[in-house]
């Protein structure tokens, strides 16, 4: 199994969710995240004093899937989240050792 993690622009969350659903993904986890890549942050001004805001709000979308689906899911997310402008985010996947469904105790692919 694989864990696919995507860092995306917050306003792209609905598009990514819809695309994953259309592909057949039945569950995902979303958390608010903040960070920066090449985009860096922005500057705010309060009473004439400038503040550099480095960390930009992002969404982290996590999907657990079977090995053979990971490449497709990554493509689906990239396509849905892409605007072509700087700050679109990153997607990566890592191997996953164990998954357990808490309600039933099922393990492995059956738990997905």
């Amino acid at each position: 199994m694989k864990l696919v993690t995507a860092i995306i622009k917050p306003f792209k969350l609905d598009d990514v969710k819809a695309a994953l659903e259309a592909y057949g993904v039945r569950g995902l986890t979303v958390t608010e995240a903040s960070g920066y890549g090449r985009q860096r942050g922005h500057t705010e001004v309060y009473r004439g004093a400038e503040y550099n805001v480095d960390l930009i709000p992002k969404m982290r979308v996590e999907v657990v899937c079977e090995d053979e689906d990971a490449a497709d899911i990554i493509d689906v997310v990239v396509k849905a989240a892409q605007t072509g402008k700087i700050g679109d985010g990153k997607v990566w996947s890592v191997p996953l050792e164990t998954v357990v469904r808490v309600r039933t105790g099922e393990r492995g692919p059956d738990a997905l």
């Binding site: 001004v45 309060y46 009473r47 004439g48 503040y51 550099n52």
Partner: protein, 431 residues
């Protein structure tokens, strides 16, 4: 007794009281989320401390018969034991005493913005009582007590004009704020660490309440429901409007954006500047005073970065500078049509009035700065004025008041914690 005057002064008193909770929100929104409750507490406790002292002896020191030299009142009115018929002008003495009480409260509260995030709460409460006694009550006597030439030395004897407290309230609080900021020192991390306002909507709400209450402050200072009150009312409105516009214009030119905090700050700068002048100028003069004050204060707030004093919420830049600007501009814009006597430079009055205004600003500013510095140092030496550095970093709200303002993090709110505690966790088996 004039019932119209009495009704207006009573209503004005309530308006002026509302300014202190308004100020608490104005300041509170500008602090970081971890110290907003302490900011609210510092403002609100002034209502408690000053109100009690006012009845005991404060009103008497400020407004009872002069005890000599126009410096302070005697104690014959201590306890406020007047009979129902006792009058001050055309209104009951207690109506006048209630109105003036609200001024004493907010003047002390104004200082708190300079020491945000780091003042020991107990030390602050003691400071408020001592400061009101040694600084505000005498200065109010100097500026506000009139007794046919035997009143306070600045207002009644010298003839400097201060309609509603540009010197007695704003220069006074601003100079005290500077002194106290120096006594307490800079916040941990200032000015390197970012200390953004945590809630601008409540800053705007607070500024709105201040603006609303300020009609009582200025128009109420006519102590009558008459044409002078109406002039002060209109002057207050247009000076504030002009100052808000001129502050955001400076911002747009200097930083590229007009900001909500700038608009609110400009409005307060305009209210401060028109406070001494509302009973001396026409609406056109009020527009000029507001526009000048908004621009001057927009630049004055940057001084702290150059001079390296941590006046956290810009009490000096807005109140000391704004109050001085307003008090001095009376020397230019005062008109006989409103004052009933004195004229400023632009109305053919020469430089006389300007000179008197300068004396009033310098005397109040210097007295307040020196006394406040001494009071602050003595409190610092005896009980300590500043919280521990570790507590300051954690946030004064939790440390001083055992509360946090916002419950934004679900994992730390009551909801989850109770459930988690009921789960039985199996012990790890040793190999």
């Amino acid at each position: 007794m004039n019932t119209g005057d009495t009704a207006w002064v009573l209503a004005s008193s309530a308006l002026v009281l509302l300014m202190t909770p308004g100020l608490a929100l104005f300041y509170g929104g500008m602090t970081r989320a971890k110290s907003v409750l302490n900011m609210l507490m510092m403002c609100w406790t002034c209502i408690g401390v000053v109100s009690v002292l006012w009845v005991l002896y404060g009103y008497s020191l400020a407004f009872s018969t002069d005890a000599g030299g126009g410096l302070i009142g005697d104690l014959t009115a201590a306890g406020l034991r007047f009979d129902l018929e006792a009058l001050s002008g055309t209104i009951p003495v207690l109506a006048f005493a209630a109105f003036q009480l609200m001024f004493a409260i907010i003047t002390a509260a104004l200082i708190s913005g300079a020491v945000a995030d780091r003042a020991k709460f107990g030390a602050w409460v003691v400071f408020v009582g001592v400061w009101a006694t040694l600084v505000y009550f005498p200065v109010a006597h100097w500026v506000f007590f009139f007794d046919d030439g035997n009143g306070g030395w600045i207002g009644d004897r010298l003839g400097a004009l201060d309609f509603a407290g540009g010197t007695a309230v704003h220069v006074n609080a601003g100079a005290a704020a500077l002194a106290l900021a120096l006594v307490l020192g800079r916040r941990v991390g200032w000015p390197k660490e970012q200390m953004r306002p945590h809630n601008l909507p409540i800053v705007l709400l607070g500024a709105g309440l201040l603006w609303f209450g300020w009609f009582g402050f200025n128009a109420g200072s006519a102590v009558a429901a008459n044409g002078l009150a109406a002039t002060a009312f209109m002057d207050t409105q247009v000076a504030t409007a002009a100052a808000a516009l001129s502050w955001i214009l400076v911002e747009k030119l200097r930083n590229g954006h007009a900001t909500t905090l700038g608009l609110a700050s400009g409005a307060i700068a305009g209210l401060v500047a028109i406070t001494p002048a509302a009973g001396s100028v026409e609406p056109l003069g009020a527009i000029a005073i507001g526009a000048i004050a908004g621009a001057v204060c927009a630049y004055a707030i940057s001084l702290k970065y150059r001079l390296r004093y941590d006046d956290s919420l810009d009490v000096v830049g807005v109140h000391l500078v704004g109050g001085a600007v307003g008090a001095l501009l009376i020397g230019f814009f005062a008109t006989e049509a409103v004052t009933g006597g004195a004229n400023g430079l632009f109305y053919g009055g020469g430089l006389t009035q300007l000179g008197l205004q300068a004396v009033a600003v310098a005397a109040v500013g210097a007295y307040s700065f020196v006394l406040t510095y001494v009071i602050g140092k003595v409190i610092d030496w005896t009980m300590g004025f500043r919280i521990h550095e570790e507590d300051e970093v954690q946030g004064i709200d939790v440390v001083a008041h055992a509360e946090t303002a916002y419950d934004l993090d679900a994992a730390h709110s009551g909801g989850f914690a109770g459930a988690i505690r009921r789960v039985e966790v199996p012990k790890k088996v040793d190999a």
